[in-house]
Structure formats: structure tokens, C-alpha cells
């Protein structure tokens, strides 16, 4: 197994082996001037990896909060290349996983396509990548290059996937499998979707990779409930809303710590 994949996957597997529920906060890169402090703070507050969103003008899967976060970032002049460059040398002690859309991945280095994007991530020390609109059928080149460049390519599974599809996704994914909690775009919701635990349970029966549930994990109670089946959670909109509403980074770090405490006291 490659070094970087081992780093993300081993990191998460090792945490899971300790009985820990995995916590992966999402941070839109550039959302506030001191967003890198949030990345550092979240790691110190007990994140097991950090998902870093690169802003894109047309985010198909994102709800209003993440859209606003992206608009804040781009409004401040944040652009994918400088944002990635600012991650180089940033050692926060946990793996960073970049999430963006296919157009950014394909055109960041236009002459080299998605392969160039993966190499760019590797060069700045990013350990994983999520491109939700690169489904299995379109991702052969991307997956091959990610494997060579030692960047884990995390694929998403949705409640609409049948068992065969889930199995294919779990097989092709590396680092972890991202379990979409419901058939909804990102955003906070009152209750954990009924499909969340069921989908995670199905995936757990198919793969030994960590299964991490995201989309709509809005409260510590949701996180604890989701982790009854999944190995961990991604929390995005709940944290980004705080920043969009003007909360300082320290407050968001406190919120990350609260999720950590809840997951740990729930037996993880």
C-alpha cells in the first residue's frame, strides 16, 4: 500500500481500532481570512481528518449554507490554486482531504486534466480527494492517477445505490467510503434521515474500509446516532453556518470539540 493512502487509511483505521468514532469536519477553504486557524484548531479539537472544500461557481450538491460559504470565499478573492498552495507545509497532524467538483479537478491544470489535479494535491501534501460528480463510470483515469500519486480517492455511496453498486463503490474507493445520509443536498436538518443508518449498515457489510456518514449531520445527537452504524461522520453545514453568520473561528473550534466529546462519551 502506498505511503499517503496508508496515511489516510491507516490513520482512520488506527483510530477506529482504538474504538474511536471518526470525526471529519468540513471547512470551505478561504471562507474567512483565518480559515487555516480553523483547520489547525479543528485538528487540535479532535478531528480525525479534515475535509477542505475548494470553492466552485456551480456546486451541484451543496445547499444554501455551503453555497454561501463558497460565495464568501470567492468574494474575498479565494481561488483554487492559491488555496491549495496555502496547504503546502501545513502539518496539523491529521490528513487533509480536498473536496471539489469535476470542473475544478479537470481544469486546474488544463493540459493535464484530472491527473494533473491529483498530482497537485500530492505536491501540497493533501492525502485524499473527493469529487462527487466524478462517478465510477467517469473516474478510471482519476482513480488510476490517484493510486499512483498516493492520494486516496474517496467515493460517495448514496441511499439510491443498489447492493451491487455499493459494492463496486466500496471496492474502488480508498481512504474511506463516504456514505450519503439521504437523498438530499447538503444542509442542516431537524432529524437524521432514516436512510442514514440503513445505508451505512449496508456498506459496513460490504467493506472493511472505514464508512463515514455525511450530509445533514447537524447536531451532536445526529452524529452519535449515525455512528451507531457508521465509523464516523462528516459535519459541514452546521460549522459553515456559524462562520456565515459571523461567528469567530474559536467558536467553531469549540463546536468541533463538542462533537468530539459527544462521540467519545458515546463509546467512541
Amino acid at each position: 500500500m502506498s505511503v499517503a493512502v496508508a496515511t489516510l487509511e491507516h490513520h482512520l483505521r488506527a483510530a477506529r481500532a482504538d474504538g474511536r468514532r471518526l470525526l471529519i469536519p468540513y471547512v470551505m477553504a478561504g471562507v474567512v481570512p483565518d480559515w487555516l486557524d480553523l483547520v489547525r484548531g479543528a485538528a487540535e479539537a479532535g478531528a480525525d481528518a479534515i475535509e477542505i472544500g475548494l470553492p466552485f461557481s456551480d456546486p451541484m450538491l451543496d445547499g444554501p449554507t455551503v453555497q454561501q460559504a463558497a460565495a464568501l470565499a470567492t468574494g474575498r478573492g479565494a481561488r483554487p490554486r492559491p488555496l491549495l498552495d496555502s496547504l503546502a507545509g501545513l502539518d496539523v497532524g491529521v490528513p487533509l482531504v480536498v473536496m471539489t467538483y469535476a470542473n475544478v479537478a479537470m481544469t486546474l491544470t488544463p493540459e493535464r486534466g484530472v491527473g494533473g489535479f491529483v498530482d497537485y494535491l500530492a505536491a501540497v501534501g493533501v492525502r485524499g480527494v473527493i469529487v462527487p460528480d466524478l462517478p465510477l463510470e467517469e473516474s478510471a483515469e482519476y482513480l488510476a492517477r490517484a493510486s499512483e500519486a498516493e492520494v486516496a480517492a474517496v467515493l460517495l455511496a448514496a441511499p439510491s445505490c443498489d447492493d451491487e453498486r455499493c459494492r463496486e463503490i466500496a471496492q474502488a474507493s480508498s481512504g474511506f467510503v463516504y456514505c450519503m445520509s439521504s437523498m438530499r443536498i447538503t444542509g442542516e436538518r431537524a432529524d437524521l434521515a432514516t436512510t442514514a443508518r440503513e445505508t451505512a449498515r449496508r456498506l459496513k457489510g460490504m467493506t472493511d474500509l472505514p464508512v463515514v456518514t455525511g450530509f445533514g449531520i447537524s447536531t451532536v445527537a445526529h452524529a452519535v446516532e449515525a455512528c451507531a452504524d457508521a465509523d464516523g461522520v462528516v459535519v459541514g453545514s452546521a460549522f459553515m453556518r456559524m462562520l456565515v453568520d459571523g461567528a469567530p473561528v474559536a467558536e467553531v473550534v469549540d463546536a468541533v470539540a463538542a462533537f468530539r466529546r459527544a462521540l467519545s462519551s458515546a463509546g467512541g
Binding site: 451541484m60 450538491l61 469535476a102 481544469t107 439510491s160
Partner: protein, 405 residues
Amino acid sequence: MSSRVLDVSATEVSTDAMRAPDAAGRFGRFGGRYLPEALMPAAKAVEAAFREAWSDAAFTTEYRRLLATYVGRPTPLTECARLSEALGVRVLLKREDLAHTGSHKINNVLGQALLAQRMGKRKLIAETGAGQHGVATATAAALLGLACTVYMGQTDVRRQELNVFRMELLGAEVVPVTSANGVGTLKEATNGALRAWVNETENAHYCVGSTMGPHPYPWMVREFQRVIGDEARAQCADRLPTAVPDVVVACVGGGSNAAGTFAGFVDTPARLVGVEAAGGSAVDKGKLGVLHGFMSHFLQDDDSQVLEAHSISAGLDYPGVGPEHVHLASIGRVHYTSVTDEQAMRALKLVTRTEGILPALESAHALAWVVDAAATGELPAGSTVLVTLSGRGDKDIHQIREHLR
């Protein structure tokens, strides 16, 4: 319901020179299906349903019955005597403006609405720019008893208020789409519709309005629109000593009326010309990228952000173009060019005054190329030119008035 499923070889025969895309939904390297996993089963289900329906005589018979008895097909081919005299070329118009709801959009929408019904969906979701596709979708939904939600950029809601009212009158819900960094046009409307589709895949069919979006939409929409080209081809054969015109012209936003028109002539010697808006000429000025589920050319900056297109015509201000058009450009079969708002408006006035036909602003772009190409000699005197008049200008009347003031 027929259990026959159209295989790829049969499809290639039926679509002749503008062939079906490959198994991955590509025309050359363009097209594909770049969707989040949550939408993959829905897109695959649409493809399976279309393949099955398109080879089922019961489906195509019902579709053609509606085209004849509801849409008013065939639409006529109008000889433009006074315009021809003014330009020195023989101009024939394929009159999609005379189709029910006032544009070619209804051809595609009825096909997709029947498909939605066949798939057991109870609702249509659509995006619209100028409102023509929204009106057509609301109309088909009313006809077939389906619910309908139309996503429309906030700016377009304002500048196409008459069409918004028409949609609401037809029973559709119109949802204005805004985003913090957008300008409220078709690109954002499409984002809104796609997000709604993620949230409602079980009950709703996404009725894409042009030859864009993930596979099978670019192909399926072209097949539903090829009735324009097939009819025009037969009408030209009856009318012209040469059987086919020298040049066939259509405007291109996403590219559905052009794809439908070209499909009828792609295997003839006719020169094919697609006319984009200067502020939205994605074929020429766009860069390879992925948006709204497909790979094509899109207007974008050096930081991978998709730009807003700008056109006086809300129907042409999409920053991308259907994948098959980029493919047709890349193999040299269709020549794509663009005209400015001013050129389009001059042509609109000329055609209105000489022929008593008020074209939609979109169609005025195709006419503008003819007017200017006749003047520069790019269209030799005496040439025969077929122009698809994709829609009528009533919907644009406020904007036309503002522009001319």
C-alpha cells in the same frame, strides 16, 4: 408496454449520420454523465426508459398523435419573398414559432412528459431562461395531469414576467433562483433544477430543456427535436428543385432547435451553420470543462469558475453548449459563429417589417447571420437558405421595446 429494448446498433441506424452517442453517452470526447452518485440511478433509469419507449410503437404513435393534434405539426415552411428580395438570397423559414406554446420547445417536452408518465413519475422539474421551455413544460404537465415546478433565475423572472404568469396560470410553481455570486439567469436556474432533482428523484422527472445535461439528455432531446429537421427536409424536397437548401441555419444556446434541424440535413451537401450569441459563444470561446452533468465547452475563467454568459436573449445566455455541437464543430461538419445583440435586433426589425413575422430574440440571431452573410457575400447571391425560426417574439416584446427606445 413493449419489452423490446433498442440496442446500440439499431439506434445508429435510426439516427443516421448524427449517430447515437457511445455507451458512455459521448459524442467524440464530449458528453458523458458527470453526476453525483445520488443521481446516477435516476439518469440510468431515464436512459433505459427512453431506449425502450423510443422503440415502442405505442409510445411513438402517441407522441406523433400529440405532435399532430396538439402541437399543430407539421409546422409550415414559409417562403420569405420580400426578405429574399431585400437580401438577394432565397430565404425559407421553418416555422417552429407556430407550434403550440410558441416555440420548438414543446416537441421535446411532450416526449419527456410522456416518458415521465410511463416511468410513473408524478412531477416534472424544469429550468428555464427565456421561459419558453418553462411554458412548454407547464403546458405538458397540465395536459398529462402532472405537477410541475420550474426553476428560473431571479433576473429572468423579472425580464420574462409574462411567461412567469403563463406558467403559473398553467398550474406550475415558478421558483426564482438566486445565488450569492450569480446574476440570476439560466445557469443558476439549472443549478436549482439539478439540486431539486437530487431531492426529489423518486417522484420527479427532470425535464431538461435543451441538448445538454447528463447522458441520455443531449441525445434524447435531439431525437425529440429531429422532427424539425425531418419535416423541413421533406418540405424542401417538395419545394426546391435542388431538394435541399444550400445552407441551413439555426440559433444555438444549449442547441436543441439546431440539433433537431441539423439532424435532418447532416447527410446532405447542405452547409450547416449554428449561430450563438456573441456574449455566450461557448463553442468558440468556451474551454473544455464539466458543468451540469456533461463535458463540453464552457465559458470559464482561469480559476475553473464558470462565467455568466451575456445576451439580450435570455434563451441564449447559457455559458455552455450541448456536447454534440462541440463534436460537430470539431469534425468540421457544422460551422459555428456568433452575432451581437445589435445585429440580432437589426435582423429582427428587418424580418418583422418585410415578412410580418416577429421572431424570438433567439431566432433573430440566426436571421442576423443570414442578413450579414448575404451583405458580405459569404452567402452568394441566389443561394437558398433555410432558417429555423425557433420561436416567436411575443415573449420578448418588453425587451425589444426597451432596446429600441
